[in-house]
């Protein structure tokens, strides 16, 4: 009986991993297709976060030994990936990287931050 459960869990794990890899692939396609840094960051952040998450969960399901560890890792990824994206986006903005010419609005330009 337990063997069946393990096999089912393993199958689910592999499904999770496949989904994760698909999103990671999407992220890399997005890197090529998007026109400027900020749009690339958008696709890359979202897709890699979910991709990495589901890969981690998948690994945890295949070998339960790793489940607690991979859940902790998942939480940390959710916490850190957006922070990194935000830091990179702001750094490139401050460094003078222009928005794509099709952009419609830039409210950040008006903000005078004291340095």
């Amino acid at each position: 009986m337990t063997a069946v459960v393990y096999i089912i869990l393993e199958i689910i794990g592999y499904i999770f991993i496949s989904i994760g890899t698909f999103f990671l692939l999407l992220a890399s396609i997005g890197l090529i297709r998007m026109p400027d840094v900020y749009n690339r960051m958008q696709t890359a952040t979202k897709a890699t976060t979910l991709g990495a998450l589901s890969v981690l969960v998948g690994i945890g399901l295949i070998d339960l030994w790793w489940l607690p560890k991979s859940l902790i890792l998942a939480i940390f990824i959710v916490l850190t990936a957006p922070i990194g994206a935000s830091a990179l986006a702001r750094a490139s903005y401050k460094h003078g990287v222009k928005l794509w010419k099709g952009s419609v609005v830039d409210k950040y330009k008006d903000e005078k931050e004291e340095d």
């Binding site: 916490l79 850190t80 935000s86 830091a87 702001r90 750094a91 340095d115």
Partner: protein
């Protein structure tokens, strides 16, 4: 001209070493390795060196991770040298980047998202680094990666607070104490058993946290040392800030 010479030299090196390395087997079974010879007792063993480590390593050192057993116990003296090298690097960078007249540099305000995030994460990263070096004898990892993770926690603070400045005295004191721990553990072995770096503590049960004698102790010392040294290197390279 210089480029042509460089290309010729590079190709020459490639050919000369390739001719040597094509003769070296790749991925062969360990049973084909030559057996080792003990020059002090003049005896040839019946197995090769890696086979010996893999067969008797658990009994000799009590560690589960054979790479750690070799790094910290069998070849612990190399690791002492390695720690010294890192210590030298941090000392050297500190002495080269030393500024007598402290000029205050202007710093830019940081990102609020990063600031809050690194506040939250700092402690957890330290915990994770400690996790890596404390389990060095059981799982992949050890003092060097663990120390690097701890240094990354401080690096995050540097990113988040441009005004953050690790106290150099504190860093060098923790560096020294960790280094002294390593040397003193070695000297205690010399006094107790007559061998420098002798593993004098009980081995305990394999795969348990408190096992493998002095290995976890040394790895904790290395972890603290590497952490503070890498932080000191980063801090020195950043120069003086206001």
């Amino acid at each position: 001209m210089k480029k042509a010479l460089a290309i010729v030299l590079a190709i020459l090196i490639f050919i000369v070493f390739a001719l040597a390395f094509v003769k070296i087997p790749f991925g062969e079974k360990m049973s084909t390795y030559p057996h080792y010879y003990n020059p002090i007792t003049n005896q040839t063993s019946n197995m090769s060196l890696p086979q010996h480590y893999l067969t008797y390593g658990k009994n000799d050192t009590g560690a589960t991770n054979m790479v750690t057993a070799i790094v910290v116990d069998y070849r612990g003296f190399d690791t002492l040298g390695e720690v010294t090298v890192l210590f030298l690097a941090s000392t050297g960078v500190g002495s080269l980047m030393y500024v007598e007249n402290k000029v205050k540099k202007k710093v830019r305000r940081s990102n609020a998202v990063v600031e809050t995030g690194s506040k939250l994460l700092f402690g957890f990263i330290i915990l994770f680094g400690a996790y890596i070096f404390i389990h060095g004898h059981l799982t992949p990892g050890g003092g060097f990666p663990g120390g690097a993770v701890i240094a990354s926690a401080f690096l995050l603070l540097y990113l988040a607070y441009p005004k953050f400045h690790a106290k150099h005295e504190k860093l060098s004191v923790s560096e020294s104490i960790a280094g002294l721990t390593f040397v003193i553990v070695g000297l205690i072995g010399l006094i107790i058993a007559g061998y420098f770096l002798y593993n004098f503590l009980p081995f305990g049960l394999p795969t348990y946290l408190f096992s493998a004698g002095v290995i976890p102790l040394i790895y904790v010392a290395i972890g603290v040392k590497v952490g503070s040294e890498l932080t000191a290197i980063v801090d020195s390279m950043m120069g003086v800030r206001e």
